[in-house]
Protein backbone atom coordinates (compact mmCIF):
# COMPACT_ATOMS: atom_id res chain seq x y z
CA UNK A 1 0.00 0.00 0.00
CA UNK A 2 1.45 3.33 -0.95
CA UNK A 3 1.18 6.16 1.50
CA UNK A 4 -1.01 9.02 0.40
CA UNK A 5 0.48 12.50 0.85
CA UNK A 6 -0.61 16.08 0.95
CA UNK A 7 1.73 18.75 -0.37
CA UNK A 8 2.05 21.84 1.78
CA UNK A 9 3.68 25.20 1.07
CA UNK A 10 5.55 26.80 3.98
CA UNK A 11 6.34 30.52 3.55
CA UNK A 12 10.01 31.27 3.02
CA UNK A 13 11.23 34.60 4.41
CA UNK A 14 9.84 36.68 7.19
CA UNK A 15 7.00 34.31 8.13
CA UNK A 16 9.25 31.25 8.04
CA UNK A 17 10.66 31.32 11.54
CA UNK A 18 7.31 31.70 13.26
CA UNK A 19 5.64 29.11 11.00
CA UNK A 20 8.29 26.52 11.82
CA UNK A 21 7.92 27.34 15.52
CA UNK A 22 4.17 26.70 15.31
CA UNK A 23 4.81 23.38 13.54
CA UNK A 24 7.21 22.38 16.31
CA UNK A 25 4.68 23.29 19.00
CA UNK A 26 2.07 21.35 17.05
CA UNK A 27 4.26 18.28 17.44
CA UNK A 28 6.09 18.07 14.12
CA UNK A 29 9.83 17.87 13.78
CA UNK A 30 10.69 20.06 10.84
CA UNK A 31 14.17 20.20 9.38
CA UNK A 32 15.39 22.93 7.05
CA UNK A 33 18.18 21.76 4.76
CA UNK A 34 20.52 24.40 3.39
CA UNK A 35 19.86 25.36 -0.23
CA UNK A 36 16.93 23.00 -0.52
CA UNK A 37 13.28 23.93 -0.88
CA UNK A 38 12.09 20.56 0.39
CA UNK A 39 11.66 20.42 4.15
CA UNK A 40 12.19 17.35 6.24
CA UNK A 41 9.06 16.61 8.27
CA UNK A 42 8.42 13.58 10.43
CA UNK A 43 4.97 12.85 9.02
CA UNK A 44 4.98 10.40 6.11
CA UNK A 45 1.69 11.79 4.87
CA UNK A 46 3.03 15.32 4.44
CA UNK A 47 5.43 16.70 1.86
CA UNK A 48 6.52 20.22 2.77
CA UNK A 49 8.07 22.83 0.49
CA UNK A 50 9.62 26.15 1.36
CA UNK A 51 8.24 28.69 -1.11
CA UNK A 52 7.93 32.49 -1.17
CA UNK A 53 4.56 33.43 0.38
CA UNK A 54 3.78 35.59 -2.66
CA UNK A 55 3.63 32.44 -4.80
CA UNK A 56 1.97 29.99 -2.42
CA UNK A 57 -1.65 31.03 -3.16
CA UNK A 58 -1.06 30.63 -6.91
CA UNK A 59 0.39 27.13 -6.51
CA UNK A 60 -2.44 26.14 -4.19
CA UNK A 61 -4.99 27.38 -6.71
CA UNK A 62 -3.36 25.37 -9.50
CA UNK A 63 -3.13 22.24 -7.39
CA UNK A 64 0.69 22.05 -7.34
CA UNK A 65 0.16 22.26 -3.60
CA UNK A 66 -2.85 20.89 -1.72
CA UNK A 67 -2.53 23.39 1.06
CA UNK A 68 -0.33 26.34 2.01
CA UNK A 69 0.34 29.01 4.57
CA UNK A 70 0.48 32.58 3.37
CA UNK A 71 -0.48 36.09 4.31
CA UNK A 72 -3.96 37.32 3.55
CA UNK A 73 -2.26 40.14 1.61
CA UNK A 74 -0.67 37.75 -0.89
CA UNK A 75 -3.84 35.72 -1.23
CA UNK A 76 -5.75 38.86 -2.21
CA UNK A 77 -2.92 40.26 -4.32
CA UNK A 78 -2.59 37.09 -6.38
CA UNK A 79 -6.37 36.85 -6.74
CA UNK A 80 -6.09 33.10 -6.25
CA UNK A 81 -9.26 31.04 -6.02
CA UNK A 82 -8.45 29.06 -2.89
CA UNK A 83 -10.41 27.94 0.12
CA UNK A 84 -9.53 29.39 3.52
CA UNK A 85 -9.16 26.55 6.05
CA UNK A 86 -8.34 28.64 9.09
CA UNK A 87 -6.89 31.89 10.34
CA UNK A 88 -3.62 31.25 12.13
CA UNK A 89 -3.60 34.75 13.63
CA UNK A 90 0.09 35.26 13.59
CA UNK A 91 2.33 37.43 11.54
CA UNK A 92 5.95 38.27 11.90
CA UNK A 93 7.30 38.51 15.43
CA UNK A 94 4.48 38.79 17.95
CA UNK A 95 2.17 41.10 16.11
CA UNK A 96 -0.95 39.26 15.07
CA UNK A 97 -1.91 41.40 12.15
CA UNK A 98 0.30 43.48 9.91
CA UNK A 99 -1.06 46.61 8.28
CA UNK A 100 -0.68 47.80 4.74
CA UNK A 101 -0.59 51.58 4.75
CA UNK A 102 -0.32 54.44 2.31
CA UNK A 103 2.62 56.61 3.33
CA UNK A 104 4.45 59.63 1.99
CA UNK A 105 7.54 61.56 2.96
CA UNK A 106 7.11 63.50 6.22
CA UNK A 107 7.93 66.87 4.69
CA UNK A 108 5.88 66.42 1.53
CA UNK A 109 2.77 68.59 1.15
CA UNK A 110 0.64 65.57 0.27
CA UNK A 111 -1.98 65.51 3.04
CA UNK A 112 -4.54 62.98 1.79
CA UNK A 113 -4.73 60.15 -0.78
CA UNK A 114 -6.42 62.48 -3.30
CA UNK A 115 -3.34 64.71 -3.40
CA UNK A 116 -1.51 61.87 -5.13
CA UNK A 117 -3.46 62.42 -8.37
CA UNK A 118 -1.04 62.05 -11.29
CA UNK A 119 1.81 61.00 -8.99
CA UNK A 120 3.81 57.78 -8.70
CA UNK A 121 3.14 55.20 -5.97
CA UNK A 122 5.45 52.27 -5.43
CA UNK A 123 4.25 49.02 -3.88
CA UNK A 124 4.84 45.29 -3.66
CA UNK A 125 1.08 44.75 -3.82
CA UNK A 126 0.32 46.36 -7.17
CA UNK A 127 -3.17 44.89 -7.58
CA UNK A 128 -4.26 45.89 -4.10
CA UNK A 129 -2.80 49.38 -4.66
CA UNK A 130 -4.51 49.82 -8.02
CA UNK A 131 -7.87 48.74 -6.62
CA UNK A 132 -7.48 51.13 -3.67
CA UNK A 133 -6.98 54.16 -5.94
CA UNK A 134 -9.63 52.98 -8.41
CA UNK A 135 -12.17 52.85 -5.56
CA UNK A 136 -11.14 56.35 -4.51
CA UNK A 137 -11.32 57.50 -8.14
CA UNK A 138 -7.81 58.91 -7.97
CA UNK A 139 -5.61 58.48 -11.04
CA UNK A 140 -2.21 57.35 -9.86
CA UNK A 141 0.64 55.54 -11.56
CA UNK A 142 1.30 52.39 -9.51
CA UNK A 143 4.70 50.84 -9.94
CA UNK A 144 5.82 47.41 -8.73
CA UNK A 145 8.44 47.52 -6.01
CA UNK A 146 10.93 44.71 -5.54
CA UNK A 147 11.24 45.53 -1.87
CA UNK A 148 12.84 48.08 0.46
CA UNK A 149 9.81 50.14 -0.48
CA UNK A 150 10.03 52.42 2.55
CA UNK A 151 13.27 54.02 1.34
CA UNK A 152 11.75 55.18 -1.97
CA UNK A 153 10.00 58.48 -1.13
CA UNK A 154 10.67 61.18 -2.07
CA UNK A 155 13.46 60.38 -4.53
CA UNK A 156 12.06 57.33 -6.36
CA UNK A 157 8.34 57.61 -5.70
CA UNK A 158 5.85 60.15 -4.32
CA UNK A 159 4.08 57.63 -2.15
CA UNK A 160 4.27 53.99 -1.12
CA UNK A 161 1.86 51.31 -0.07
CA UNK A 162 3.87 49.29 2.37
CA UNK A 163 3.72 46.84 5.23
CA UNK A 164 3.84 48.12 8.80
CA UNK A 165 4.47 45.99 11.85
CA UNK A 166 5.70 48.15 14.70
CA UNK A 167 5.90 51.39 12.72
CA UNK A 168 9.59 51.69 13.47
CA UNK A 169 10.70 51.38 9.88
CA UNK A 170 8.19 54.06 8.84
CA UNK A 171 9.57 56.41 11.50
CA UNK A 172 13.17 55.60 10.68
CA UNK A 173 12.61 56.51 7.03
CA UNK A 174 10.84 59.75 7.84
CA UNK A 175 7.47 58.74 6.43
CA UNK A 176 3.95 59.64 7.53
CA UNK A 177 0.95 57.35 7.20
CA UNK A 178 -1.99 58.81 5.26
CA UNK A 179 -4.32 55.82 5.34
CA UNK A 180 -4.51 52.22 6.54
CA UNK A 181 -5.56 50.11 3.57
CA UNK A 182 -6.08 46.77 5.25
CA UNK A 183 -4.88 44.44 7.97
CA UNK A 184 -3.50 41.08 7.04
CA UNK A 185 -3.11 37.94 9.09
CA UNK A 186 -1.68 34.53 8.29
CA UNK A 187 -3.97 31.91 6.79
CA UNK A 188 -3.99 28.26 5.95
CA UNK A 189 -5.53 27.90 2.48
CA UNK A 190 -6.37 24.79 0.48
CA UNK A 191 -6.97 23.79 -3.10
CA UNK A 192 -10.67 23.40 -3.82
CA UNK A 193 -10.30 19.99 -5.46
CA UNK A 194 -8.15 18.67 -2.62
CA UNK A 195 -10.96 19.47 -0.20
CA UNK A 196 -13.32 17.30 -2.23
CA UNK A 197 -11.05 14.31 -1.66
CA UNK A 198 -12.24 12.71 1.59
CA UNK A 199 -8.80 11.57 2.78
CA UNK A 200 -7.09 14.86 1.97
CA UNK A 201 -9.88 16.86 3.51
CA UNK A 202 -9.53 14.98 6.78
CA UNK A 203 -5.76 15.28 6.78
CA UNK A 204 -5.97 19.03 6.13
CA UNK A 205 -8.57 19.50 8.82
CA UNK A 206 -6.45 17.58 11.36
CA UNK A 207 -3.48 19.72 10.44
CA UNK A 208 -5.51 22.88 10.85
CA UNK A 209 -6.70 21.66 14.25
CA UNK A 210 -3.23 21.08 15.68
CA UNK A 211 -1.79 24.25 14.15
CA UNK A 212 -4.57 26.35 15.66
CA UNK A 213 -4.02 24.61 18.99
CA UNK A 214 -0.33 25.47 18.79
CA UNK A 215 -1.08 29.14 18.04
CA UNK A 216 -3.34 29.26 21.10
CA UNK A 217 -0.79 27.32 23.13
CA UNK A 218 1.88 29.81 22.22
CA UNK A 219 -0.14 32.75 23.48
CA UNK A 220 -1.55 31.08 26.57
CA UNK A 221 0.30 29.99 29.62
CA UNK A 222 -0.41 27.95 32.74
CA UNK A 223 -0.09 29.60 36.14
CA UNK A 224 -0.25 27.82 39.46
CA UNK A 225 0.18 29.05 43.03
CA UNK A 226 -0.55 28.20 46.66
CA UNK A 227 -2.76 30.26 48.92
CA UNK A 228 -4.05 29.93 52.49
CA UNK A 229 -7.74 29.16 52.93
CA UNK A 230 -8.74 32.61 54.26
CA UNK A 231 -7.12 34.41 51.33
CA UNK A 232 -8.53 32.11 48.65
CA UNK A 233 -11.77 34.06 48.00
CA UNK A 234 -9.98 37.38 47.65
CA UNK A 235 -7.47 36.01 45.20
CA UNK A 236 -10.06 34.25 43.04
CA UNK A 237 -11.76 37.62 42.50
CA UNK A 238 -8.75 39.09 40.71
CA UNK A 239 -8.10 36.13 38.41
CA UNK A 240 -8.98 36.45 34.72
CA UNK A 241 -12.60 35.43 34.29
CA UNK A 242 -11.99 32.87 31.53
CA UNK A 243 -9.31 30.99 33.42
CA UNK A 244 -11.62 28.41 35.03
CA UNK A 245 -9.16 27.80 37.86
CA UNK A 246 -8.89 24.30 39.22
CA UNK A 247 -8.63 24.49 43.00
CA UNK A 248 -7.17 21.65 45.01
CA UNK A 249 -6.83 21.41 48.77
CA UNK A 250 -3.34 20.36 49.73
CA UNK A 251 -3.62 17.19 51.77
CA UNK A 252 -3.31 17.75 55.49
CA UNK A 253 -2.81 21.55 55.41
CA UNK A 254 -4.98 24.66 55.14
CA UNK A 255 -3.31 25.55 51.82
CA UNK A 256 -4.94 25.43 48.42
CA UNK A 257 -3.36 24.98 45.02
CA UNK A 258 -4.90 27.15 42.29
CA UNK A 259 -4.09 26.39 38.65
CA UNK A 260 -5.46 28.20 35.61
CA UNK A 261 -4.59 29.26 32.08
CA UNK A 262 -4.31 32.83 30.89
CA UNK A 263 -2.99 34.90 28.00
CA UNK A 264 0.76 35.16 28.19
CA UNK A 265 0.74 38.88 27.51
CA UNK A 266 -1.32 39.46 30.70
CA UNK A 267 0.92 37.40 32.96
CA UNK A 268 3.27 40.22 33.81
CA UNK A 269 0.37 42.17 35.27
CA UNK A 270 -1.22 39.28 37.15
CA UNK A 271 1.76 37.69 38.85
CA UNK A 272 2.60 40.73 41.01
CA UNK A 273 -1.12 41.06 41.90
CA UNK A 274 -1.32 37.41 42.94
CA UNK A 275 1.75 37.87 45.09
CA UNK A 276 0.31 40.98 46.76
CA UNK A 277 -2.95 39.14 47.54
CA UNK A 278 -1.10 36.37 49.36
CA UNK A 279 -0.25 33.87 46.62
CA UNK A 280 2.93 31.89 47.26
CA UNK A 281 5.09 29.56 45.22
CA UNK A 282 3.84 31.08 41.97
CA UNK A 283 4.86 29.01 38.96
CA UNK A 284 4.27 29.71 35.27
CA UNK A 285 4.55 26.91 32.71
CA UNK A 286 4.80 27.02 28.93
CA UNK A 287 2.08 25.23 26.96
CA UNK A 288 2.45 23.43 23.68
CA UNK A 289 -1.19 23.35 22.72
CA UNK A 290 -4.38 24.83 24.09
CA UNK A 291 -7.68 23.59 22.74
CA UNK A 292 -10.95 24.93 24.04
Amino acid sequence: MTTRKIKIGIPKGSLQEHTLKIFKLAGFNVEVFPRSYVLGIDDLEIEAFLIRPQEIPKYVERGNLDVGISGEDWIIESNAKVEEVCDLEYAKRDIKKVKWVLAVSNNSNIKKPEDLEGKLVSSEVVNIAKKYFRDKKVKVKVEFSWGATEVKPPLFADGVIDLVETGESIRAHNLKVLDVIFESSTKLVANKKSLKDKWKKEKISDLSFVLKGAVKGEETTLVSFHVLKDKLEGILKILPSRGNPSITKITGTSWYDVTFIMLERDVKEFIPKIKRKGGEGIVEFPLNKAVR
Partner: protein, 297 residues
Protein backbone atom coordinates in the same frame (compact mmCIF):
# COMPACT_ATOMS: atom_id res chain seq x y z
CA UNK B 1 -4.54 49.61 29.49
CA UNK B 2 -6.34 52.92 29.51
CA UNK B 3 -6.22 53.43 33.24
CA UNK B 4 -2.46 53.56 33.02
CA UNK B 5 -2.38 56.10 30.23
CA UNK B 6 -1.99 59.12 32.45
CA UNK B 7 0.66 57.56 34.61
CA UNK B 8 4.10 59.05 34.53
CA UNK B 9 6.46 56.91 32.52
CA UNK B 10 9.34 55.30 34.33
CA UNK B 11 12.69 56.11 32.79
CA UNK B 12 14.61 52.85 32.81
CA UNK B 13 18.30 52.37 32.02
CA UNK B 14 18.88 49.23 29.95
CA UNK B 15 22.43 47.85 29.84
CA UNK B 16 23.96 47.46 26.40
CA UNK B 17 27.21 45.91 25.25
CA UNK B 18 28.25 42.73 27.02
CA UNK B 19 25.12 42.49 29.18
CA UNK B 20 22.80 42.93 26.20
CA UNK B 21 22.04 39.34 25.14
CA UNK B 22 21.21 37.94 28.55
CA UNK B 23 19.21 41.00 29.58
CA UNK B 24 17.08 40.90 26.41
CA UNK B 25 16.49 37.17 26.90
CA UNK B 26 15.47 37.65 30.52
CA UNK B 27 12.98 40.41 29.63
CA UNK B 28 11.52 38.06 27.01
CA UNK B 29 11.15 35.28 29.55
CA UNK B 30 9.61 37.73 32.00
CA UNK B 31 6.84 38.42 29.47
CA UNK B 32 8.04 41.64 27.85
CA UNK B 33 8.72 41.99 24.15
CA UNK B 34 12.06 43.77 24.08
CA UNK B 35 13.21 45.23 20.83
CA UNK B 36 16.80 46.36 20.79
CA UNK B 37 18.54 48.10 17.94
CA UNK B 38 22.02 48.63 19.26
CA UNK B 39 23.34 50.37 16.17
CA UNK B 40 20.62 53.00 16.63
CA UNK B 41 21.04 53.01 20.44
CA UNK B 42 17.34 52.29 20.82
CA UNK B 43 15.54 49.86 23.06
CA UNK B 44 11.90 49.37 23.79
CA UNK B 45 10.33 46.72 26.04
CA UNK B 46 6.80 47.21 24.70
CA UNK B 47 5.37 48.34 28.01
CA UNK B 48 3.97 51.87 27.69
CA UNK B 49 4.82 52.55 31.33
CA UNK B 50 8.55 52.19 30.75
CA UNK B 51 10.65 54.46 28.61
CA UNK B 52 13.97 52.67 28.13
CA UNK B 53 17.38 54.12 27.47
CA UNK B 54 20.29 52.04 26.31
CA UNK B 55 23.31 53.02 28.37
CA UNK B 56 26.48 51.65 29.87
CA UNK B 57 26.26 50.23 33.38
CA UNK B 58 28.62 52.98 34.63
CA UNK B 59 26.23 55.63 33.38
CA UNK B 60 23.11 53.85 34.58
CA UNK B 61 24.45 53.76 38.15
CA UNK B 62 25.23 57.45 38.08
CA UNK B 63 22.06 58.60 36.31
CA UNK B 64 19.81 56.64 38.68
CA UNK B 65 21.48 58.21 41.70
CA UNK B 66 21.10 61.69 40.20
CA UNK B 67 17.48 61.05 39.23
CA UNK B 68 18.00 61.43 35.49
CA UNK B 69 16.75 57.84 35.32
CA UNK B 70 14.11 56.44 37.72
CA UNK B 71 15.57 52.95 37.65
CA UNK B 72 18.02 50.82 35.74
CA UNK B 73 19.99 47.62 35.58
CA UNK B 74 23.59 48.21 36.46
CA UNK B 75 26.40 45.96 37.68
CA UNK B 76 26.84 45.62 41.44
CA UNK B 77 30.54 46.43 41.09
CA UNK B 78 29.69 49.81 39.59
CA UNK B 79 28.04 50.85 42.86
CA UNK B 80 31.16 50.22 44.94
CA UNK B 81 33.55 51.33 42.21
CA UNK B 82 31.80 54.67 41.74
CA UNK B 83 30.81 55.14 45.38
CA UNK B 84 27.10 55.14 44.62
CA UNK B 85 25.14 54.85 47.86
CA UNK B 86 22.00 56.94 47.55
CA UNK B 87 19.96 54.44 45.59
CA UNK B 88 17.61 51.57 46.37
CA UNK B 89 18.78 48.07 45.47
CA UNK B 90 15.65 46.32 44.19
CA UNK B 91 16.81 42.91 42.91
CA UNK B 92 19.91 41.09 41.79
CA UNK B 93 19.92 38.63 38.90
CA UNK B 94 22.20 35.71 38.40
CA UNK B 95 23.76 36.14 34.96
CA UNK B 96 26.84 37.41 33.21
CA UNK B 97 28.14 38.21 29.76
CA UNK B 98 26.51 35.56 27.55
CA UNK B 99 26.34 33.12 30.47
CA UNK B 100 23.72 32.35 33.11
CA UNK B 101 26.15 32.61 36.00
CA UNK B 102 27.89 35.44 37.79
CA UNK B 103 30.75 37.40 36.31
CA UNK B 104 33.96 37.25 38.34
CA UNK B 105 36.57 39.96 38.78
CA UNK B 106 39.98 38.30 38.78
CA UNK B 107 43.66 39.05 39.10
CA UNK B 108 45.60 37.42 36.26
CA UNK B 109 49.20 37.28 35.08
CA UNK B 110 50.89 35.82 31.98
CA UNK B 111 51.26 32.02 32.00
CA UNK B 112 55.04 32.14 32.08
CA UNK B 113 55.24 34.89 34.70
CA UNK B 114 56.98 34.05 37.97
CA UNK B 115 54.20 35.71 39.93
CA UNK B 116 52.46 33.13 42.12
CA UNK B 117 50.32 35.34 44.32
CA UNK B 118 49.53 38.97 44.97
CA UNK B 119 52.64 39.20 47.20
CA UNK B 120 54.88 38.85 44.16
CA UNK B 121 53.31 41.94 42.61
CA UNK B 122 54.97 44.46 44.91
CA UNK B 123 56.06 47.49 42.90
CA UNK B 124 54.67 46.04 39.67
CA UNK B 125 52.22 47.65 37.29
CA UNK B 126 48.60 46.45 37.36
CA UNK B 127 46.19 47.36 34.55
CA UNK B 128 42.45 47.49 35.20
CA UNK B 129 39.10 48.91 34.24
CA UNK B 130 37.94 48.88 37.88
CA UNK B 131 40.47 51.16 39.51
CA UNK B 132 38.96 51.62 42.97
CA UNK B 133 38.14 47.95 43.43
CA UNK B 134 41.71 47.08 42.52
CA UNK B 135 43.27 49.75 44.75
CA UNK B 136 41.20 48.59 47.69
CA UNK B 137 42.13 44.97 47.07
CA UNK B 138 45.86 45.77 47.06
CA UNK B 139 45.49 48.01 50.12
CA UNK B 140 43.68 45.24 51.98
CA UNK B 141 46.51 42.85 51.12
CA UNK B 142 49.07 45.52 52.12
CA UNK B 143 50.87 45.32 48.77
CA UNK B 144 52.05 48.50 47.09
CA UNK B 145 51.77 48.41 43.32
CA UNK B 146 51.28 50.86 40.48
CA UNK B 147 47.62 50.56 39.59
CA UNK B 148 46.65 52.09 36.29
CA UNK B 149 43.25 52.50 34.64
CA UNK B 150 43.08 51.26 31.06
CA UNK B 151 40.32 51.05 28.55
CA UNK B 152 39.28 47.73 27.06
CA UNK B 153 40.67 45.37 25.99
CA UNK B 154 42.78 44.83 29.08
CA UNK B 155 43.83 41.23 28.44
CA UNK B 156 46.00 42.02 25.42
CA UNK B 157 48.05 44.66 27.27
CA UNK B 158 50.18 42.38 29.43
CA UNK B 159 53.08 41.74 29.55
CA UNK B 160 53.93 44.67 27.24
CA UNK B 161 52.15 47.51 29.08
CA UNK B 162 51.91 46.00 32.54
CA UNK B 163 52.64 42.97 34.71
CA UNK B 164 49.15 41.88 35.72
CA UNK B 165 45.50 42.67 35.06
CA UNK B 166 42.37 42.88 37.14
CA UNK B 167 39.60 42.05 34.71
CA UNK B 168 36.10 40.60 34.36
CA UNK B 169 35.77 36.98 33.32
CA UNK B 170 32.77 34.84 32.43
CA UNK B 171 34.07 31.78 30.62
CA UNK B 172 37.80 32.40 30.97
CA UNK B 173 38.15 32.28 27.19
CA UNK B 174 39.53 35.80 26.74
CA UNK B 175 42.11 35.19 29.47
CA UNK B 176 43.19 31.86 27.97
CA UNK B 177 43.34 33.31 24.48
CA UNK B 178 45.77 35.92 25.78
CA UNK B 179 47.88 33.45 27.75
CA UNK B 180 46.82 34.67 31.14
CA UNK B 181 46.30 32.65 34.29
CA UNK B 182 44.09 33.60 37.23
CA UNK B 183 45.88 33.95 40.56
CA UNK B 184 42.99 35.29 42.63
CA UNK B 185 39.30 36.15 42.52
CA UNK B 186 38.64 39.65 43.91
CA UNK B 187 34.86 39.62 43.84
CA UNK B 188 31.78 38.77 41.82
CA UNK B 189 29.52 41.21 40.08
CA UNK B 190 25.84 40.74 39.26
CA UNK B 191 23.29 42.70 37.25
CA UNK B 192 21.36 44.73 39.81
CA UNK B 193 18.08 46.56 39.40
CA UNK B 194 18.41 49.86 41.23
CA UNK B 195 15.92 52.68 41.77
CA UNK B 196 16.25 56.37 42.43
CA UNK B 197 15.24 57.36 45.97
CA UNK B 198 12.65 59.93 44.86
CA UNK B 199 11.12 57.55 42.33
CA UNK B 200 10.87 55.01 45.17
CA UNK B 201 8.74 57.47 47.20
CA UNK B 202 6.19 57.59 44.36
CA UNK B 203 3.92 54.64 45.16
CA UNK B 204 2.94 53.90 41.55
CA UNK B 205 6.49 54.06 40.28
CA UNK B 206 7.73 51.96 43.17
CA UNK B 207 5.14 49.27 42.51
CA UNK B 208 6.03 49.09 38.82
CA UNK B 209 9.75 48.88 39.56
CA UNK B 210 9.15 46.20 42.22
CA UNK B 211 6.98 44.24 39.79
CA UNK B 212 9.71 44.40 37.16
CA UNK B 213 12.21 43.03 39.67
CA UNK B 214 9.79 40.29 40.70
CA UNK B 215 9.13 39.19 37.11
CA UNK B 216 12.77 39.26 36.06
CA UNK B 217 13.90 37.25 39.10
CA UNK B 218 10.96 34.87 38.64
CA UNK B 219 12.02 34.26 35.05
CA UNK B 220 15.65 33.80 36.05
CA UNK B 221 14.94 31.33 38.87
CA UNK B 222 12.58 29.33 36.64
CA UNK B 223 15.53 28.48 34.39
CA UNK B 224 17.19 26.54 37.21
CA UNK B 225 14.01 24.74 38.26
CA UNK B 226 11.58 22.33 36.62
CA UNK B 227 8.15 20.96 37.38
CA UNK B 228 7.80 17.37 38.49
CA UNK B 229 4.66 15.28 38.43
CA UNK B 230 4.18 11.66 39.43
CA UNK B 231 1.73 9.07 40.62
CA UNK B 232 2.24 7.32 43.94
CA UNK B 233 0.09 4.94 45.95
CA UNK B 234 -1.04 5.68 49.48
CA UNK B 235 1.62 3.52 51.14
CA UNK B 236 4.43 5.21 49.17
CA UNK B 237 3.36 8.75 50.07
CA UNK B 238 5.38 9.23 53.22
CA UNK B 239 8.58 8.11 51.55
CA UNK B 240 7.84 10.22 48.43
CA UNK B 241 7.25 13.36 50.47
CA UNK B 242 10.51 12.69 52.26
CA UNK B 243 12.42 12.66 48.97
CA UNK B 244 10.83 15.77 47.47
CA UNK B 245 12.36 19.15 48.33
CA UNK B 246 10.13 21.43 50.33
CA UNK B 247 10.58 24.68 48.37
CA UNK B 248 7.02 24.61 47.15
CA UNK B 249 4.79 22.32 49.15
CA UNK B 250 3.87 19.45 46.84
CA UNK B 251 0.28 19.49 45.65
CA UNK B 252 -1.22 16.08 46.28
CA UNK B 253 -4.46 15.10 44.58
CA UNK B 254 -6.36 11.90 45.11
CA UNK B 255 -6.89 10.01 41.85
CA UNK B 256 -10.54 9.17 41.42
CA UNK B 257 -11.64 5.75 42.57
CA UNK B 258 -8.14 4.50 43.37
CA UNK B 259 -5.71 4.27 46.21
CA UNK B 260 -3.27 6.44 44.22
CA UNK B 261 -2.29 10.10 44.34
CA UNK B 262 -1.06 12.62 41.83
CA UNK B 263 1.86 14.62 43.22
CA UNK B 264 3.04 17.87 41.72
CA UNK B 265 6.01 19.96 42.81
CA UNK B 266 8.89 22.09 41.56
CA UNK B 267 12.55 21.44 42.25
CA UNK B 268 16.01 22.45 41.17
CA UNK B 269 17.02 20.73 37.94
CA UNK B 270 20.23 19.54 39.57
CA UNK B 271 18.28 17.89 42.40
CA UNK B 272 15.73 16.37 40.02
CA UNK B 273 18.52 14.33 38.47
CA UNK B 274 18.91 12.60 41.83
CA UNK B 275 15.24 12.59 42.82
CA UNK B 276 13.84 10.79 39.77
CA UNK B 277 15.79 7.52 40.27
CA UNK B 278 14.80 7.56 43.95
CA UNK B 279 11.13 8.02 43.09
CA UNK B 280 11.35 5.20 40.59
CA UNK B 281 12.86 2.95 43.26
CA UNK B 282 10.04 3.77 45.67
CA UNK B 283 7.64 2.59 42.97
CA UNK B 284 6.22 5.85 41.60
CA UNK B 285 4.83 5.76 38.08
CA UNK B 286 4.13 8.31 35.34
CA UNK B 287 6.99 10.55 36.44
CA UNK B 288 7.19 13.60 34.18
CA UNK B 289 9.44 16.63 34.25
CA UNK B 290 8.55 19.84 32.45
CA UNK B 291 10.04 23.32 32.00
CA UNK B 292 8.90 26.43 33.88
CA UNK B 293 8.63 29.99 32.65
CA UNK B 294 8.54 31.79 35.97
CA UNK B 295 8.94 30.80 39.58
CA UNK B 296 8.25 33.16 42.44
CA UNK B 297 8.94 31.90 45.92
Amino acid sequence: MNKNKNMKQIKLGFPGREWRNQTVELFKRAGYRPNLEETLFRVNINDPQFKCFLARTEEIAEYVEKGILDAGITQSIRLSEQGIKNIIKVSEFDYGNNVWWKTKVVLAVPFDSKVKSIKDLKGKKILTRVLNTTKEYFKKNKIEAKIEWVNRPTETKVPIFGDAVVEFTNTGNALRANNLRIIDVLTETVPTLIANQNAWQDKKKREKIEDLGLLLSGARIAQDYAGLMLHASNDMMEEVLGVLPSLKKPTVTHLRGENWFDVFTVAEKEKIREIIPKLKKIGCTDIIEFPLKKLIV
